[in-house]
Point group: C2
Chain length 237, copies 2
């Protein structure tokens, strides 16, 4: 297995993902939300680029079956049911519903990765499940979605963790950037919040009072869910 | 001061460098060669994208004043005077001459950064001189040129070193990626070859027997030279 890492949604050049297994990561908070919603029984998730697309789809599908979720600049979108906190997507809210979601970075990263052979969504929450699901694949690319076209600490650490775990588990060959990210994770694994909190996006969420979300999203392996993107939808593998 | 880092020549999006101080780094070996050539008395360096451009310019300027240097895939170009080893550019060869150079990554990184307010070329060899030259600037971007559109360990470590040194010297604010690269450097500074040698390009050069070049290019602060790009040429600041 060869592992590469892409460090922002903007840097997903088609040749880097084509015919590979791609895992899109947006720890704070898009892919943590998606994984949580599926774990809580969501029927499917439709990631879209704009709020307008989300409203149009909701009209098509009927309000009673659909929940609209997402954010712009880490705050909820007017007219949407919920923002980007995983705690909004409890079983009472999301079970058997379709979640239509648009976020600044995560959904864009997914839609930029459509050339992949297999397209999964991961976070710390389901890191072990992802590693298990791809451990026999040949070419794996972790996409650390980043924030507004920039590298973010938490996505890169999460990519580094999975690269590290696959190196240990199946002796995966890491590209230079994967080596660097695995190193960053490995050196900080005993206090991942300490280095995470140096990141701009973590600080922004702390400023918005989203501490509970941060604590939740940094937990490793609490959800045994592998979201896979097929035909415009995310469902459980 | 704000510091950002770009991790390959391909990822130099115009808005990331516009009106900023940009330092292009290609440790193995383009910017190490350029710095060495200027330190050894080269009159100027013209970085060009293709061997054809280099031959055309040589015709224009006259063979006696010009040295052609560069590489493709780390080996010399047919018809060129020298390859990409800094040891080829001794004072006897290069003093008062114009060096026309084309390399796979470094020259492309320079030419992709022309929107910069100030465009410098750095390497480990002149890291202290670069840090001194830019310590009062407002927005600094280190471009780790990488290799064939990929992150390379040595360029990222060198960018991390300068970001780290500026943080210590003038309290520079580091972006998330700059924090990560500074950390990578800081943790490995006592044996920079150990982590450097995990990189693909380092291994490639070792395979080509270029050990002396590797040892040379990893030396910090041995040249008090700041190459600056102006009007198509690199000269000493």
């Amino acid at each position: 297995m060869n592992i590469d890492v892409i460090l922002s949604a903007r840097e997903i050049f088609p040749d880097k993902v084509k015919d590979k297994t791609v895992v899109v990561i947006d720890v704070l908070r898009a892919t943590s939300v998606m994984t949580t919603a599926l774990a809580n029984g969501a029927k499917q998730i439709l990631p879209v680029l704009t709020p307008e697309e989300a409203f149009d789809l909701q009209k098509e599908m009927g309000k009673e079956n659909v929940v609209l979720g997402g954010e712009r600049k880490a705050v909820p979108i007017p007219g949407f049911d919920f923002g980007n906190s995983p705690f909004s997507y409890s079983p009472e809210i999301i079970k058997d519903k379709t979640l239509i979601i648009t976020t600044t970075n995560g959904t864009r990263a997914i839609l930029n990765s459509l050339g992949a052979k297999k397209l999964l969504v991961g976070a710390f929450l389901n890191d072990r499940a992802i590693v298990e699901a791809i451990k026999n694949d040949e070419d794996v690319v972790f996409v650390a979605s980043g924030s507004h076209d920039h590298f973010t600490m938490e996505d890169s650490l999460c990519a580094g963790k999975m690269a590290h775990d696959l190196q240990v588990l199946v002796g995966a060959q890491l590209s230079d950037v994967a080596i660097a990210m695995a190193y960053l994770y490995e050196q900080n694994k005993n206090d991942i919040h300490a280095i995470g909190s140096k990141g701009k996006h973590y600080k922004r969420l702390t400023g918005l009072g989203e501490i509970r979300d941060l604590e939740y999203c940094y937990q490793s392996d609490i959800l045994d869910i592998v979201p896979v993107y097929k035909d415009g939808k995310l469902v459980c593998l």
